[in-house]
């Protein structure tokens, strides 16, 4: 249950969100209402409400086990095996909850894209970058080899991977972690998706590299009018990148609002405890020094 819907920026439209009107952008975004997920008799998501409008970065924060990743996976049509999903995920004019596997497969990778924490795990170590960048493009957009290659070069340039021509012939182990994450993002945006789920996209990276990836995500969101769902436990990253922040705890939303309000004047005690636990807020505890 969404207990705290008291934030001024929240459109408290419930259930019957048949049209994508209101504060949610005209098209392309996601509207999640009352999303629940049960697995083995346990309720892991309990009535999650979430708006992911186009052209905005929507942050989903919370500690491990809060259900933030599960929410992202449910949006992508990848709930854990045996899970029972209820509620509603509206995308464009379609309902994603209860959508068949085939229909979801057609959407995922094309209109709903994703980027995960570890690019070395999400890229195949023995396939060239070119192969991994063109395979899904040819499948989803029905392009020829040549057209797909052109598209691959275009997106590699867009994510600023140096010398794209050569990069296509190379393999994942020949790149640094930051470059690999850029390539993973290139793969994600190759089919011109409307929604990008980014689950801890910078957590495995060094701070200097992290800043570059954050800037890239921001830019892609603005330029391509992408609806970005940013899942992270790192409130500093959240504060830099997200426009609105939704905070989750044990499968439910506890707070939701504009970035500045949630971080500066959190209403819910749980959000407050998260913010106060940050190093900038923690008083240095001296033992004997």
């Amino acid at each position: 249950m969404s207990t705290h819907e008291d934030s001024p920026a929240t459109t408290t439209g419930t259930g019957g969100a048949s049209s994508t009107g209101g504060a949610t952008g005209a098209g392309g975004g996601l509207v999640v209402r009352g999303l629940a997920l049960e697995l083995g008799g346990r309720r892991l998501l309990d009535g999650v409400d979430l708006d992911v409008p186009a052209g905005r970065v929507t942050g989903l924060a919370g500690e491990s086990g809060s259900g933030k990743t599960l929410t992202g996976m449910a949006v992508l049509g990848l709930p854990p095996r045996g899970a029972r999903l209820s509620g509603s995920i509206r995308y464009g004019g379609r309902e994603l909850v209860g959508l068949g596997t085939r229909a979801h497969n057609a959407l995922r990778g094309k209109e709903l894209a994703m980027v995960f924490q570890d690019p070395t795990a999400s890229l195949h170590p023995m396939l060239s970058i070119g192969g991994q960048l063109t395979d899904h493009v040819r499948h989803h957009l029905r392009l020829s080899r040549r057209q797909a290659r052109e598209r691959a070069l275009e997106v590699l340039e867009q994510v600023r991977v140096p010398s794209p021509e050569q990069a296509l012939r190379r393999y994942p182990h020949e790149f640094s972690g930051g470059q690999l994450q850029r390539i993973a993002i290139a793969i994600a945006i190759a089919c011109r998706p409307r929604v990008l789920v980014a689950d801890e996209p910078t957590t495995a990276l060094d701070v200097t590299v992290q800043a570059g990836i954050m800037r890239l995500l921001r830019q892609l969101c603005d330029e391509l009018d992408l609806a970005v769902l940013l899942v992270t436990h790192d409130l500093a990253v959240m504060s830099s990148l997200a426009d609105t922040i939704t905070v989750m705890r044990t499968g439910a939303v506890v707070e939701h609002g504009p970035r500045h309000d949630v971080i500066r004047t959190p209403r819910h005690p749980y959000t407050r405890s998260l913010v106060e636990a940050l190093p900038d807020h923690t008083r240095r505890l001296d033992g004997a020094g």
Binding site: V207, Q210, H233, S239, V262, A277, P279
Partner: protein, 258 residues
């Protein structure tokens, strides 16, 4: 004073021939007794190799490593020289460093057996790290991630060490726990009179716990100094870039300029 670690001009190379890689390239680091030193740098800069040098897990190509006046030799099958056991480590993943099939209490007793008499009792150790006394009867899997790292800290403290080395001890924890566990590590180490070498890529947490910070890049020490001074006036361009890239949770939506 016990707890002093001295690394002088340490060079470590891996591999041979054309594939030879210099992991540490003439590094000198000093941790004084009762001091908390933070070691920061990007991945691959040699932070963890340095910890391995201090514990005798990698052979030195050249240079010198001395702990409490005793040269650190490479660990072999022989029993370690007694004084070197007074150096203990806390690793990133507590689940990998604790025995999953034994109760926490008996694992702590093992540690205490190293220096019987000097180390506090199991109940006291658990209390130090903020765990209830009944934690001794439980197995590692019965704890949450943060609690398990507390158990790992208690295990390191059980031997009554003079120097504690934390190699990314908070990297696998939730953001909300990182500062808490890091300050706990500092408090516990200093309360027992031990010094602490805190290795992390998270600069804001290092700022919180370290008296002095050493910045490394590609196997070399780039800069070092008292924590606050280094934060206010970083001299090397590398440190300046590193500090400028740290995002701040200020709610202003600023992406760090690099």
């Amino acid at each position: 004073m016990p707890g002093e670690l001295l690394l002088e001009d340490v060079v470590v190379e891996h591999g041979r021939g054309a594939r030879r890689v210099r992991a540490l390239d003439g590094v000198s680091v000093h941790v004084a007794a009762g001091e908390v030193v933070g070691l920061v740098g990007p991945s691959g800069c040699g932070k963890s190799t340095l910890a391995k040098v201090a514990t005798g897990l990698v052979p030195l190509t050249s240079g010198r490593a001395v702990f409490d006046g005793v040269p650190v030799e490479r660990n072999g099958l022989r029993r370690r020289p007694r004084p070197l056991v007074r150096l203990q480590m806390v690793f990133q993943n507590p689940y990998a460093s604790l025995n999953p099939r034994r109760r926490v209490g008996s694992q702590l007793e093992d540690g205490r057996a190293v220096h019987p008499g000097t180390a506090p009792g199991v109940a006291e150790l658990l209390e130090q790290v903020g765990l209830p006394a009944d934690a001794a009867r439980r197995f590692p899997h019965e704890f949450s991630g943060g609690q398990r790292q507390r158990v790992a800290i208690a295990r390191a403290m059980a031997t009554g060490p003079d120097l504690l080395i934390g190699d990314e001890p908070i990297a696998s924890l939730d953001a909300s726990l990182q500062a808490q566990v890091a300050t706990l590590l500092r408090r516990v180490a200093l309360a027992s009179g031990a010094s602490l070498l805190f290795i992390s890529h998270d600069l804001s947490v290092v700022r919180l716990v370290a008296d002095r910070v050493v910045v490394m890049d590609s196997g070399r020490v780039v800069e070092e100094g008292p924590t606050e001074q280094l934060w206010r006036q970083p001299r090397s361009p590398f440190t300046q870039r590193l500090l400028a890239a740290v995002p701040v949770a200020d709610g202003l939506g600023r992406i760090p300029q690099v």
